[in-house]
């Protein structure tokens, strides 16, 4: 009883399901005043749902609330909105910047909590017509910045600030709240340099020393180990383990996070082929894909292999394919068959014999309101002038429907696409069949190399293995090189011959499918392994 | 909060009052000026000469006998001045009358009645 009193926050038996899917199972977490808790877990482990529950995010209420109770500051709470949480003294710093670029640091730090001066008009039209008290605003901003311990001119417009300072603005904003009792930091150091991250961590410790509790979510294991008092590992919606940093090591944390393996390997193939000819060489690739930035990734892919790209969401594994295919701005050196290829030009890349099965099936892959045969042949028609009859030396062209139907039927049979006819609208197909269609569309191009992103996302289990089998089959039969990016380590390890793990936009290491699961976990968590040094450069 | 309600109510009331005030002082009235014979009770005042008329210091013009003219005035209190004119020369014989008009009232004034200081020189109608 006595010990419970000391806790600022207790989440007891918290469970949550979304439409029948349990995402949190009986979570029990306690946070003492002034304690820094590290929260780690894979994507989908339930970190964000847990935080949404804590903050009373409307999405929780809209989906039927949660089970269990939250006791904050001695009272049971169930916040109706994040603002209630903020008013109760919980602050949050988000991974993505939440501020107004055109405002000064002062304005951003005091966003919507500006001190005001009385004006007569407020009597008539309400408090909103009080005038901002600029001096007071500046004073408070400077105070908050001082706690952070950084050099920052608060009068500068945030847009013009060095990027590293921007994250501090958000932390300073939370610090400014007099009420602040608990601060949740969601990947706050992702964009900071090491020295900046150090400053940030120091500031957080300072804050904790003042009695503010901190929940620190990060995938940088080292940072967590260095600065947290306790580490909570979430896996599959339940608390896997609570650890004390001094008693543990990265490997142990990674094991709890990713899980132990019962069978040694799920590798499907009998042998790992020895292939030496390089087909694709990527050097220092930078891709600006929102939420999936690639920051100087380098790797080589051998001709005829299935190359896997794994990593946590948001670390850039999807950015690689999208960047090379010209869907997002990219820089860097990419050589295909020894020849440098130009970036930022989709058509050109396609013409070189590189094709892409996008993770965004509905947005980029398919035209939903068109029949199957048009979807399958459209890109080929555009890029390779296939299925076109031409007259007068190509002056007049029209589509060759017969050839289109023929090839469509072939693929429908080959990939076992379930449909009524080749003229059926794509919209009417199931997710798995749509995915197969995306692949058929790419195969029609007869490419030498295919990027496949998240091929099994959103399709049912039976279809999943069919999709993977198809990829394997085409790889073996036609020698097509496949680069597959996926969040599912299982499927990467099932069909890929080599698997690169991406962390913070760079390749942190390349492992064989038979490597231990925890090795993958460590790479994902930014623990530098020796392998990275050997393969990286 | 209560203070705010009081201030708001006061403001709305004030605005309505100002509106009414503006209505009253800005209202136009038509004043018809007759230089015609008029019978008030038993007495008949007859028009005999030509007059120049000013209403609220604004010249309305020359009104010959038997003629009628009209002036548009604004507000509540007004003044009418008539002066006899003979062969285009003002005689200096001035008669001045003051009158008030309520909202929506218009008036007909009769010059012979004014000259003779009759009580019912003005006829106000709604």
């Amino acid at each position: 009883m006595e010990s419970k009193e000391k806790y600022l926050l207790r989440m007891e038996h918290v469970s949550k399901d979304f439409y029948g899917t349990k995402v949190l199972k009986n979570i029990n977490i306690s946070v003492k005043s002034g304690e820094i808790i590290g929260l780690v877990g894979e994507n989908g482990a339930g970190k964000s749902t847990l935080m949404n529950i804590l903050f009373g995010n409307p999405i929780i209420h809209e989906t039927g609330g949660f089970e269990g109770k939250i006791i904050f500051d001695g009272k049971e709470v169930n916040f109706a909105s994040p603002f209630d949480a903020i008013n109760a003294g919980i602050g949050m710093v988000h991974q993505e910047f939440i501020f107004i670029p055109g405002f000064t640091a002062i304005e951003n730090i005091l966003l919507n909590k500006e001190p005001t001066r009385y004006s007569f008009f407020s009597e008539i039209f309400g408090d909103k017509l009080n005038v901002l008290n600029r001096e007071e605003m500046k004073k408070r901003a400077i105070e908050a910045i001082k706690i952070l311990g950084i050099e920052l001119n608060p009068e500068i417009i945030v847009k013009e600030m060095p990027v590293g300072h921007k994250q501090f603005i958000e932390i300073a904003r939370e610090i400014d709240r007099k009420l602040l009792k608990l601060l949740v930091l969601d990947e706050p150091t992702a964009v900071l340099t090491e020295s900046e991250a150090d400053i940030a961590m120091k500031a957080i410790k300072k804050l904790a020393a003042k009695g503010v509790s901190v929940i620190f979510i990060s995938h940088r294991l080292q940072e967590i180990l260095d600065s947290c008092d306790r580490i909570i590992v979430l896996k599959d919606g339940s608390v896997q383990k609570e650890l004390i940093p001094s008693d543990t090591n990265p490997r142990e944390v990674a094991e709890y996070m990713i899980g132990h393996e019962l069978t040694k390997s799920i590798w499907k193939s009998k042998e790992i082929r020895k292939i030496s000819e390089t087909i694709l060489e990527v050097n220092n690739l930078w891709v600006d894909m929102p939420g999936e930035q690639v920051n100087g990734a380098s790797f080589k892919v051998n001709k005829g292999e299935i190359f896997g790209i794994g990593g946590l969401t948001g670390q850039g594994k999807l950015g690689i394919a999208n960047g090379i295919m010209g869907l997002h701005p990219a820089e860097g050196e990419v050589k295909f068959k020894g020849k440098p290829i130009f970036l930022n030009n989709s058509k050109y890349v396609l013409e070189q014999g590189i094709a892409f099965v996008s993770e965004d099936r509905r947005g980029l892959g398919l035209i939903l309101d068109q029949p199957i045969f048009k979807n399958i042949t459209f890109t080929a028609m555009q890029i390779k002038d296939m299925f076109l009859k031409s007259l007068l030396g190509g002056l007049i062209k029209w589509s060759d429907d017969k050839a289109m139907f023929k090839i469509t039927r072939e693929y429908i049979d080959a990939l076992q696409i379930k449909c009524e006819s080749e003229k059926q609208l794509v919209r009417e197909l199931s997710g798995g069949n749509q995915q197969k269609l995306c692949m058929a569309k790419v195969f029609v191009l007869q490419p030498e190399l295919i990027f496949v992103s998240e091929p099994t996302r959103g399709i049912d289990v039976g279809a999943k293995s069919l999709v993977l089998d198809t990829l394997c089959e085409y790889n073996r039969k036609y020698g097509i090189t496949i680069i597959m990016a996926s969040s599912e380590l299982v499927e990467l390890r099932a069909i890929c011959e080599r698997i690169a793990i991406v962390d913070e936009g760079r390749i942190s290491g390349i492992l064989p499918p038979t490597a231990e699961l925890v090795e993958f976990g460590l790479l994902m968590l930014g623990i530098k392994s020796k392998k990275r040094e050997t393969i990286g450069k | 909060m209560r203070k705010q309600i009081i201030i708001r109510t006061a403001l709305v009331t004030a605005l309505i009052l100002i509106g009414i005030f503006l209505y009253v002082i800005g209202k136009e009235h038509k004043v018809v000026i007759d230089n015609r014979d008029i019978s008030i009770g038993d007495i008949t005042y007859s028009a005999s000469t030509t007059y120049v008329v000013w209403v609220d210091n604004q010249e309305i013009g020359v009104i010959k006998k038997g003629e009628r003219n009209a002036a548009i005035v604004t507000g509540v209190s007004h003044k009418i001045v008539v002066e006899e004119i003979k062969s285009n020369v003002l005689t200096g014989e001035k008669h001045e009358k003051r009158f008030r008009l309520k909202t929506n009232e218009s008036a007909t004034v009769n010059i012979p009645a004014i000259i003779n200081n009759a009580n019912e020189w003005i006829d106000k109608t709604n």
């Binding site: 930035q293 100087g296 | 800005g26």
Partner: protein
């Protein structure tokens, strides 16, 4: 082809030219048109004075929604309608002079608030497409206005003055004579320099509005609007009621437009019952854009530069066209072309500029990441 590099546009002088392309084009055009028109300097100054006094207020009404990120508010037409309804009433009641004008303002304010509230709600449903929605809304409300004035007035709302009522007994005539309040404000404080009448009181009112807008920017509500204008989501996350703030900005703009229209019509002296408000939005917006404003940024100097440039064009174009081509109509067509063209051009320019800025911003972040990760 290989790289769409836009870094060249970072050059400050080029950037200046891009940012102020519209005003610069206008200055050049006017520089040619003025001598061609052969209009006297006196006429020119007088005309400019009048146009500054009667149009500035309406254009100032556009500033606040821009601040709140709603773009150019075409629904100021609604405010103009409200003002006209006020004027119809005072004309019917025969209230004249300054008190008539004030009464018209008093009557039309609640109507403008209501219409503005309605417009704000509709525009909230059409985020990102505020301008075209506002344009359509103005059309829609014009229909309602006509219904109200053409059938409601005299039928439901008693109108007694036969000089504004159609002979059939209901509905308002096509033109209303505003002789009663004609130029009452303009001539309230008489000042004449040479042959030029200076509408001192009107300019004072406009100056007051400028002060108000400057003050308003400094209030909490003003700050909220700026926040909402810069980023809806950030504003929402930080607890600002985005929808409400947006609606308020439109309400304020509509009310100001209502006063602006009354000010405008007191100068004109006659009111075209069914059409006076029609072009209010287009002309005000065109003028503001000509003044160097963009959909996202507009300030007080833009308003005055805009009125001067745009209306100078209005004044000189017909005669310059006549002098150049021998036909006044050509100047006329040119003017119409210019007012709509300028809107389209500024919008395109703005979209392009935004893309460049985004690209630059992205480059900056990428370079930063490169620098920290290269270590």
């Amino acid at each position: 082809m290989r790289k769409k590099s836009l870094t060249k546009t970072m050059n400050p002088s080029v950037l200046f030219l891009i940012n102020y392309a519209v005003p610069i084009i206008f200055i050049i055009l006017i520089a040619f048109a003025i001598p061609l028109s052969g209009l006297s300097g006196l006429y020119f100054i007088r005309e400019l004075m009048i146009r500054l006094s009667r149009n500035s207020f309406l254009i100032l009404a556009l500033l606040i929604p821009v601040m709140a990120g709603m773009g150019m508010n075409f629904s100021i037409v609604l405010g103009a309608m409200a003002g006209e309804i006020g004027l119809i009433f005072i004309t019917d009641w025969q209230i004249v002079g300054i008190s008539g004008m004030l009464l018209a303002i008093l009557i039309s304010t609640p109507i403008a608030v209501l219409l503005g509230y309605f417009a704000g709600i509709v525009l909230n449903r059409a985020k990102g497409r505020e301008m075209v929605t506002g344009f359509m809304l103005a059309f829609f409300m014009n229909g309602i206005y006509q219904l109200f004035v053409l059938f409601g007035m005299g039928n439901i709302i008693p109108i007694s003055n036969s000089s504004i009522l159609l002979p059939r007994g209901y509905g308002i005539r096509n033109t209303i004579n505003l002789l009663g309040i004609r130029q009452v404000l303009d001539k309230l404080i008489p000042l004449k320099i040479g042959d030029i009448l200076i509408p001192v009181a009107t300019f004072l009112v406009i100056a007051t509005l400028c002060v108000f807008i400057t003050w308003f920017r400094k209030t909490k509500l003003g700050q909220d609007m700026r926040t909402v204008g810069q980023d809806n989501e950030v504003a929402r996350v930080s607890g600002i009621n985005v929808e409400n703030t947006r609606v308020l900005s439109i309400v304020i703009s509509t009310v100001l437009a209502c006063y602006g229209q009354i000010l405008f019509l007191q100068n004109i002296g006659t009111m075209n019952t069914y059409q006076s408000h029609e072009q209010v939005g287009v002309f005000a917006i065109a003028a503001l854009l000509v003044g160097g404003a963009s959909v996202a940024k507009a300030n007080i100097p833009n308003v005055f530069i805009g009125v001067i440039l745009f209306h100078t064009m209005f004044v000189v174009a017909p005669r310059a066209g006549k002098a150049l081509m021998g036909q006044a109509q050509l100047g006329e067509y040119f003017r119409v072309f210019v007012s709509y063209g300028v809107i389209a051009f500024s919008l395109a320019l703005y979209a392009w500029r935004k893309r460049v800025e985004k690209e630059n911003e992205r480059k900056k972040i990428m370079n930063y990441r490169k620098s920290i990760l290269a270590k």
